[in-house]
């Protein structure tokens, strides 16, 4: 709830970074909360990348 180690009280004004489901960012905005949304995409696995490269070559 806080951005410093010393102050453990609840923040007066919430400022949120939303990572993942965008609906949650929209719902916070509806409540007047400042939100930055991170459009999460899973990192690709190396073997998938290699497979894709191979499929183009072979």
């Amino acid at each position: 709830m806080d951005s410093t180690n010393n102050d453990t009280s609840a923040p007066k004004e919430l400022k949120v970074i939303n990572v993942g489901v965008e609906l949650f960012a929209e719902e916070l905005r509806k409540q007047g909360v400042k939100v930055i949304h991170v459009d999460f995409k899973p990192p690709r696995k190396l073997d998938e990348d290699i497979e894709e490269i191979l499929s183009k070559i072979i």
Binding site: M1, S3, I17, E27, K30, I36, V38
Partner: protein, 560 residues
């Protein structure tokens, strides 16, 4: 489309086509919205679904005749497009339209400033350097890394993501506790922080009750009941169900209790969870005893705690927790139904059932609401089966098939793999309701409707056609089904409590203001022997009513 595998199944007037987009990820909510949009805008199709290729989704497509052998090959990393085309519709045109929808930017609202999105946590912190909370809802296997990245910047995390191991959870929480931060979750569905609802939460008043919850819909139910009595919540902190397991040892529960103890706005503290590990129960209750404020501890279905401290009040249900909290704040749970009214409801409902209709079914969207109902109905009906049972011996062999008395938590993993939560997406519950209505031994069906931020914009409306069809199905076979409902919400929620309740009453659903009242009523109506006078055997009606004293006192308290 490229080289995507394509499969078609020819029927008399329609063709079913599946296209698999390999390693193409969109989150389940985006796909749910996209499917709705495709249904509304595409011409020449009779059905369409765009989903991740999980087992749950393939099962659903198979059930509704939308899966082809090619679609069967899709994996959870693939996006599966399934369409039922009318005879003269061009496949290419339809697929191009869906592809366009898939590539559209995902923002659906907001100003230029608020609608902007970033592709990394680092960029987001550059744009909002004074962020004081992060809400993380990424697939479980990435959640720990993302959460650590945020904690390292000195910011607390509400971790909605599930499927994080207890070992990782402990690591995250120890790190956070050392830095004076919070990790709310993993698997935390709800928090209310400084008056704002995080993830699934209701619009409730601010007030003097602080809640720590290892039970998401437990926090929702209590906050709603307190709000409806005119009181409010100072902070509602969801710590996730794993926190009270012995591996994690209640790390975050203690941190949150400590914060609420110091919080000037909070005068009463409520702790709510599904059953903690016995040693964690003891430890947490003793910890509450070291504090000065009064505590209401609702460990639903938990084992008895020895030597309960004087400032701690132990209660069995969410209904009783709300009543006790209100009592400590100088009021009572006035919205509870009176005993007289309950008796009248039970009597008239039970007369609608035929002799063979002896079983209760429950289709829940809320995990804690399921659990509370299991505790109540198990005590009153004996064996109750579930996909998320109280004890492992009552776990259903197949979560897709009910037997005898069965309560289903539709928010469990087997129903949500690659799908939006049932509070947002009613599809699977609608289909299941129709299945339950076909069973001639079913008498009572319970449904919960959870309103608030994050939930479906019209949960009652979304279920209405399924409720109508379920009743029609039973009537056609000469039966009636008693459908009971509980709406967890407030007038200030986006869906508006009174409007949702009116829709359900119109459909003949019998509504209760608390989940515990609904569960107890389901058991009483299904059993009937509590109610029906047997004059032939000289049974005394009054004695039969009296036999309900114990469960009513235990689960609803002395509020009636």
């Amino acid at each position: 489309m490229g080289s995507a595998p394509l499969g078609e199944t020819e029927l008399a007037s329609v063709r079913t086509v599946n296209i698999v987009k390999r390693n193409f990820f969109r989150d389940s909510l985006q796909l749910m919205r996209l499917t709705d949009k495709a249904k509304q805008t595409l011409k020449g199709i009779s059905d369409v679904a765009v989903v991740m290729g999980t087992t749950t989704n393939k099962d659903l497509l198979r059930d509704i005749g939308l899966l082809t052998p090619e679609g069967e090959q899709a994996t959870p990393s693939d996006t599966l497009i399934a369409v039922k085309l009318e005879t003269d519709t061009s496949l290419e045109g339809v697929i191009q339209s869906i592809e366009r929808l898939l590539e559209e930017p995902t923002q659906t609202s907001g100003t230029q400033e608020s609608g902007v999105s970033f592709s990394s946590v680092e960029e987001a912190f550059e744009a909002l350097p004074d962020a004081n909370l992060a809400l993380v809802s990424v697939p479980g296997r990435y959640a720990t890394d993302v959460a650590f990245k945020i904690l390292e910047r000195g910011v607390s995390v509400h971790l909605f993501s599930d499927h994080v191991s207890l070992e990782e959870e402990t690591r995250l929480k120890r790190y956070a506790a050392d830095k004076g931060l919070l990790v709310l979750g993993p698997g935390a569905g709800t928090s209310i922080i400084s008056g704002k609802g995080i993830a699934f939460a209701n619009n409730v008043k601010r007030g003097q009750l602080g809640v720590v919850a290892a039970a998401g819909t437990g926090l929702q139910e209590i906050s709603v009941l307190v709000d409806r009595a005119g009181f409010g919540i100072s902070q509602g902190l969801g710590v996730g169900g794993g926190d009270v397991k012995s591996e994690v040892g209640g790390i975050m529960s203690k941190v949150c209790i400590e914060r609420l103890e110091r919080d000037e706005e909070t005068s009463v503290i409520c702790f709510v969870s599904k059953p903690p590990s016995p040693e964690v129960s003891e430890e947490l209750v003793n910890f509450m005893g070291t504090k000065g404020k009064p505590f209401v501890a609702c460990l639903i279905g938990g084992s008895a705690v020895k030597n309960v401290p004087n400032n701690v009040y132990m209660v069995e249900t969410l209904h009783k927790a709300a009543a006790k909290c209100l009592n400590l704040m100088g009021d009572s749970l006035t919205i509870a139904t009176t005993r007289k009214k309950l008796e009248s409801i039970w009597t008239s409902a039970s007369f609608r059932l035929g002799e063979g209709q002896k079983y209760v079914r429950g289709l829940f969207t809320g995990g804690t609401l399921t659990y509370e109902s299991l505790v109540i109905t198990s005590e009153m009906l004996g064996e109750v089966w579930s996909n998320a049972p109280i004890d492992a011996t009552h776990k259903l062999d197949d979560h897709r098939v009910s037997k005898h008395n069965t309560l289903i938590d539709m928010g469990e993993e087997e129903f949500t793999e690659g799908r939006a939560h049932p509070m947002m997406d009613p599809t699977l519950r609608k289909l299941r309701l129709l299945e339950e209505a076909k069973d001639p031994e079913v008498g009572v069906i319970m449904l919960d409707f959870v309103l608030g931020y994050g939930s479906h914009p019209d949960p009652a409306g979304a279920m209405s056609d399924a409720i109508i069809r379920a009743n029609q199905q039973a009537t056609k076979e000469g039966r009636q089904i008693v459908i009971l409902g509980h709406v967890c919400g407030t007038e200030k929620d986006p869906q508006v409590l009174s409007s949702q309740e009116a829709k359900l009453r119109e459909l003949g659903v019998i509504l209760f203001p608390t989940n515990a009242e609904m569960a107890l009523s389901a058991a009483v109506i299904a059993r009937r022997d509590f109610l029906i006078t047997d004059t032939a055997r000289g049974a005394d009606t009054h004695e039969k009513w009296k036999s309900l004293e114990t469960p009513m006192k235990k689960f609803l308290g002395g509020t009636l």
